[in-house]
């Protein structure tokens, strides 16, 4: 699959974007700017965390997924379903009903995303007990965390375990199973139902490896709506002939939740979820302030995948529901077909080394970089430190950096403009034009249809 260097599943719809700067301010890598009244992305900085998607008030950021009809290009159509999908549905709508509905929608087979988690736990424990590798071992489960480390904490990339994620194990297993039945790859389409944008990016443009064998991805919220529609229109689950039961035991089922991995690892493990918590901890780790931790399970979303940007149900209710279900698993109904592929999966479990993906802040040449940074520090003497984003950048610091890199001009700062106007060094008409250049022309005209205004919905 050929992809641009920095592929991102999230796209900003320019015609929908109102240039409100909410996204600019939440981006953990300061990858967004407002220009000409729209939000723009520096693609080399984006880690696909989806915080921008969450805060956009007009749904101008979308998660590009495959057209559902793409599944019908294949004779065998496999839904790769992570447990978090099943957790979205209320009690009573059990996995066997969801599988039945998915088959009714056109899939011919189901494979669960965590079937390989048991083998994965073994491999993680092997790595954790190998004292020749960097510790703490950092999980590779959350692709947004992996990319955050590559971009913002390059020195910690050797800590990331070069082991594939559970969904890759499931995909490799099901792919090989069909091969063993004599069915060519071209007839088998594997479609992953994704709770977030980062997983898509990991599939389309993996950090280090290129053989996930997944043919496409479908957004979780899209599938949720489709499944709910079928259930409602048939008059409820009582009219649905159940398919097979879930094939996951309790620990596999909870793998994608906070603590799911760490609880399977021997040694001192921490599970940390939520973007800010993860960043704070990585800072500490990078400062060498953390001793004797063996394993880190880091998840970008609060409540891990239950908080995925495409997960429609309330994350806390989902966690509670999944924890209860995990206690009720009927061990006799589980089949372990994947165990037959153990050796094959083990042989293909590794990714290549995960390398830093440093986005250049100042200059490749250190002396030039120092000169630019000193210039930024001088500019910061004049900027107000309010981080209002009126210049289009998330912070005064980011604005100063943009200026030094020639991407903006210092007088885009509204406070400096006021000062210059006061000193009669800037014409007020010119000042308004500068602001319009950032926020769009006519942006400051009366408009009663904007959010919160009196004709909001008309």
């Amino acid at each position: 699959m050929s992809t641009p260097q920095f592929f991102h599943a999230l796209k900003i719809l320019e015609d929908v974007c109102i240039g409100c700067s909410h996204c600019v301010r939440v981006c953990p890598t300061e990858a967004l700017r407002i220009r000409d009244g729209k939000s723009h992305l520096y693609p080399d900085r984006c880690v696909d965390c989806g915080e921008c998607y969450r805060v956009c008030p007009v749904n101008a950021i979308i998660n590009n997924h495959d057209d559902f009809d793409k599944i019908f290009r294949y004779k065998h159509r496999i839904a790769l379903v992570p447990s978090i999908v099943l957790g979205q549905f209320k009690d009573g709508i059990e996995p066997e009903h969801i599988f039945a509905v998915l088959k009714g929608l056109g899939f011919t087979d189901i494979c669960e995303g965590e079937e390989g988690a048991k083998l994965l736990a073994e491999l993680i424990n092997q790595r954790v007990s190998d004292r020749s590798v960097e510790h703490p071992v950092i999980s590779s489960f959350c692709p947004a965390v992996v990319r955050l480390i590559q971009v913002n904490f390059p020195g910690l990339t050797p800590n990331i375990m070069p082991i594939k994620a559970p969904l890759d194990f499931s995909a490799m297993y099901i792919r090989q199973k069909y091969r063993d039945m004599g069915i060519p790859d071209s007839e088998v389409g594997i479609f992953y139902i994704t709770p977030c944008a980062a997983k898509i990016v990991a599939i389309v443009s993996p950090v280090a490896d290129d053989s996930s064998g997944i043919n496409g991805f479908i957004n979780l919220d899209f599938i949720y709506n489709k499944v709910m529609k079928v259930i409602k229109s048939t008059g409820g689950v009582k009219n649905i002939v159940p398919d097979r039961k879930s094939n996951l035991d309790g620990s596999q089922m909870l793998w994608a939740l906070t603590g799911g991995e760490a609880s399977c690892v021997k040694g001192r493990s921490l599970s940390i979820d939520g973007m800010k918590n993860v960043i704070d901890f990585l800072e500490k780790l990078e400062n060498e302030e953390v001793d004797n931790v063996d394993f880190l399970e880091l998840r970008m979303c609060d409540q891990s995948c239950a908080g995925g940007i495409l997960a429609p149900s309330n994350r806390f209710l989902v966690v509670e529901r999944m924890q209860k279900r995990a206690l009720r698993v009927d061990a006799d109904s589980l089949t372990f077909g994947i165990d037959e592929y153990r050796e094959y999966l083990k042989a293909n479990a590794k990714t290549e080394d995960i390398r830093p993906r440093t986005s250049l802040r100042y200059d490749v040449d250190v002396s030039k970089a120092i000169a630019k940074m000193e210039k930024v520090r001088r500019l910061m003497c004049f900027l107000p430190g309010i981080d209002c984003s009126v210049c289009g950048a998330p912070t005064c610091q980011a604005h100063a950096e943009d200026v030094v890199q020639g991407r903006s001009v210092i007088s885009n700062c509204i406070f400096l403009q006021k000062k210059l106007e006061n000193q009669r060094l800037l014409d007020s008409k010119h000042a308004l034009r500068m602001i319009e250049k950032i926020w769009g022309k006519d942006r400051f005209d009366k408009n009663c249809t904007k959010k919160g205004a009196k004709n909001e919905d008309s």
Partner: protein
Amino acid sequence: MRLDYKVEGGDFARAGWASSQVKKVLKQLGVDQNIVKRVVVALYEAEVNIVAHAYRGEIGVDIDAEKIVMRLEDEGPGIPDVSLAMQRGYSTATPQVREMGFGAGMGLPNINTNADIFNIETKVGVGTTLEIIINFKSNQ
């Protein structure tokens, strides 16, 4: 480029602030990660030494294209026997300090391992000044 920080003796909650800031600067400048790591370890140890042993101190950092020079000057008890303090595991930290996870006696030896040039000047009853230099282009 010049960076200055103040360190208060006994303020363990803030110990590591200067090394964390210097780390950010070096990362942004694109300095090699392994060098950044050495700077962070050396500066963190030296900073914690001021917090654990001295009354107050000042850290001055000079960065140019070739190297980083860190000068840590404290007002404190000084070190009566420098060669003893340079031995791994030797520590005069109080039990209280050790309880907080500091004072393992690795401070000065760790700085020495990570520095290209390491100088100590100390006067008992007055204070200690450390100079730590780490070159960006590794000559090892």
